[in-house]
């Protein structure tokens, strides 16, 4: 067997936060045709950092803008305004080849392992595609790299010639992870990576993601609606409501001493598996429905449903600010619920 030349993959060289998101908004125009078009404020003025090597969990209910935010950070959709820095370089101004080069270092894993793999390509080709796109290595080198990545992701490299339909959901998610990993990225955005999988398979993927992080010093932005999983995987957690981040802190802080009433409500909603603890849980039930992001409430966006809202909450929007050591929240009455 001939020795394949090593691939020259780009390595990280940053100091400071790996990702720096400042005042990012993403608005979608709606309803052209009749009358005036309106704007969906999917993400509306969001700022946070992700340090190298950490996992930042992003939670919120459906429609809060968490997936959109993930896509905007990946530059799969352009931001309407604001700045996104990755490895110290501004992404929102980049175009064409420059952006392509940066993309080698950031990858995304999708929720649906059925929809995100081309059924007409072998999994070997699917995993090798990013290498090919960036013109890295020759055929032999790429094959070697694919086999290597498949092995670390728990796939049998002999199956590289098979097609996606021959694999189960869990294995397909491993294929998606292999494809993300093949470029040696520093950042992986994982958008609901386990919510389409069966319970017993979810643990396999969570454990795999943890192992890969340790092995390759990966940084994750882990987007999910399941607060238990997010607590399990994240170093820090950001909570989103209606296009805004309402709270960011270490995982432990958010779950043990939440400051924002919405976080508190979310946490009180989750049943405990332990029947004894569950019997004592008192859920805080929200009234009403989540407002439309087309016409969000004035002031604090949560005020229409917040159990402790005062007049000021509908008048003045609370800034996302440091409330105590490393704990950021956007609320006029933090920790009061």
């Amino acid at each position: 067997m001939s020795q394949a030349p090593a691939l020259e993959l780009v390595q990280s060289k940053t100091t400071g936060p790996l990702v720096s998101v400042t005042d990012v908004t993403k608005h979608f125009p709606t309803g052209g045709g009749f009358g005036r078009g309106q704007v969906v404020r999917a993400v509306d003025g969001v700022s946070f950092d992700i340090s190298a090597g950490e996992t930042l969990g992003l939670v919120g209910e459906s429609g809060c803008g968490k997936s959109t935010l993930g896509r905007v950070i990946m530059q799969l959709q352009p931001a309407t305004s604001g700045s996104i820095k990755f490895e110290g370089r501004e992404l929102t101004k980049m175009r064409g080849n420059e952006l392509r080069q940066v993309r080698q270092r950031m990858q995304i894993i999708f929720q649906d392992p059925y929809a995100s793999l081309n059924p007409r390509m072998t999994i070997g080709d699917i995993i090798a595609e990013p290498l090919k796109n960036f013109g890295l290595g020759n055929r032999a080198a790429r094959e070697k790299r694919v086999q290597e990545v498949m092995r670390v992701c728990g796939l049998n490299p002999n199956f590289a010639n098979r097609y996606p339909h021959e694999f189960s959901g869990g294995q397909r998610q491993r294929i998606g992870i292999s494809r993300a990993l093949v470029m040696t990225p520093s950042l992986i955005v994982a958008d609901e990576p386990i919510s389409a999988l069966d319970v017993s398979i979810q643990a396999q993927i969570v454990n795999l993601l943890e192992d890969l992080q340790n092995q390759f010093k990966l940084t994750y932005l882990f987007i999910a609606h399941d607060l238990s999983v997010v607590r399990h995987v994240s170093d820090r957690v950001a909570v989103m409501y209606l296009g805004k981040i309402v709270e960011i802190a270490s995982s432990r802080e958010v779950y043990e001493t939440p400051l924002h009433p919405y976080t508190k409500v979310l946490l009180s909603s989750i049943p405990f598996a332990d029947p004894e603890r569950e019997a004592q849980r008192k859920p805080i039930l929200l009234k009403g429905e989540i407002p439309s992001p087309i016409n969000p409430p004035s002031g604090c966006r949560f005020h229409t449903r917040c159990p402790i809202a005062q007049q000021i909450c509908s008048d003045v929007e609370p800034p996302l600010e440091l409330k105590k050591d490393g704990h950021v929240a956007a609320c006029h009455f933090p920790g009061k619920l």
Binding site: E61, S62, S168, G170, D198, V199, S200, I201, Q202, A203, Q204, V206, N207, E210, H225, L227, S228, V229, R231, H232, V233, Y255, V265, L266, L267, S268, S269, I270, P271, F272, A273, D274, P275, E276, R277, E278, R281, P283, L285, L286, G288, E289
Partner: protein, 304 residues
């Protein structure tokens, strides 16, 4: 199952939990059929009911709500009318009564401004409200049993909390027995006093929820409880991952159907299928080994 009881059926997709529920209503989809066994509802055999009896039984004595309320509601009929229709299909209430009951029912499931909302179409409702409307429909004929198949799986956690509280209240106040089907052990723990764990079409463990969740005896139950992260976890513990996949039901493994994935199996498990046997007061498990006989060291070793 007793009157007024709450039973949870937990298992993965394909474990047979929905089919069990559909069998109770004699609703197993073609070409499936009930090939053996007996289902008694208040001493009447459901399997041998005539189609006329079944019509009265389904939706009258026992009703069912599903995961996706949109597929169970007719999109071109007003919500109030559909609830009324559920009563008109049965003989418990006359036309006048059926009409009068619609708004109190919507109120009962806490739909705000029920008078106005009764005139809405399903698409004008949010996901949570649709599920409430489904529950109102399920309760319309005051059934003794309500079967809820993954009723909160498609909903956000805050809405899930509302629906679970609603189901708890209905069970307490109306005495409706509830069978809750879910893959989520915490949801089962929240509502059900008894639990039944299914794997590959069989019950592998059952008993009072507290007993089973505190002292699971079947390795599948034990692993399932440790394979999901807990929202109240303090220390980061590695999740137990159950290796492999659920078996193909057309080609079940020999012996215990869980043995290819079981990390505590003994030789006998591959040859002989264990019976569902009593392992403690009121608790049954289908296992030759039982977790009580597995040493702490062996359990820990599984976590790698």
């Amino acid at each position: 199952m007793n009157a007024g009881e709450t039973l949870g059926i937990v298992g993965e997709s394909g474990s047979g939990k929905s089919m069990t529920a559909l069998s109770i209503l004699n609703l197993v989809p073609e070409p499936g059929r009930i090939t053996g066994g007996q289902i008694l509802f208040k001493d009447r055999d459901v399997v041998s009911m005539t189609s006329g009896e079944l019509l009265e039984y389904r939706g009258g004595d026992a009703s069912m709500i599903f995961q996706d309320p949109m597929t169970s509601l007719n999109p071109v009929l007003r919500v109030g009318f559909q609830i009324e229709e559920a009563m008109r299909a049965h003989s418990r209430f006359d036309k006048r009564q059926a009409k009068d009951r619609v708004i109190p029912l919507l109120e009962r499931v806490r739909i705000p401004s029920p008078k106005e909302r009764a005139r809405d179409f399903p698409h004008q409702f949010s996901g949570g409200m649709r599920q409430r409307a489904m529950i109102a429909m399920g309760l319309a004929n005051e059934p003794a049993l309500l079967i809820a198949d993954e009723p909160t799986t498609a909903l956000d956690v805050t809405v899930q909390a509302q629906i679970l509280e609603l189901l708890k209240d209905l069970n307490r106040e109306l005495g409706t027995a509830i069978i809750l089907i879910s893959h989520n052990v915490a949801v089962i723990s929240s509502l059900c006093t008894r639990v039944m764990v299914m794997y590959a079409g069989r019950v592998v463990e059952s008993g009072p929820t507290r007993q089973v969740f505190d002292h699971p005896e079947h390795p599948y139950t034990w692993s399932l409880l440790r394979s999901v992260p807990r929202v109240d976890e303090r220390r980061h513990e590695r999740l137990i991952s159950i290796q492999g996949m659920p078996p193909d039901l057309a080609r079940l493994p020999s012996g215990c159907t869980f043995h290819p994935r079981c990390q505590f199996k003994v030789e006998r498990c591959m040859r002989e299928e264990p019976p569902l046997a009593e392992v403690a007061a009121d608790q049954e498990a289908r296992c030759w080994v039982l977790m009580r006989n597995v040493s702490k060291e062996t359990r820990e070793a599984v976590k790698t």
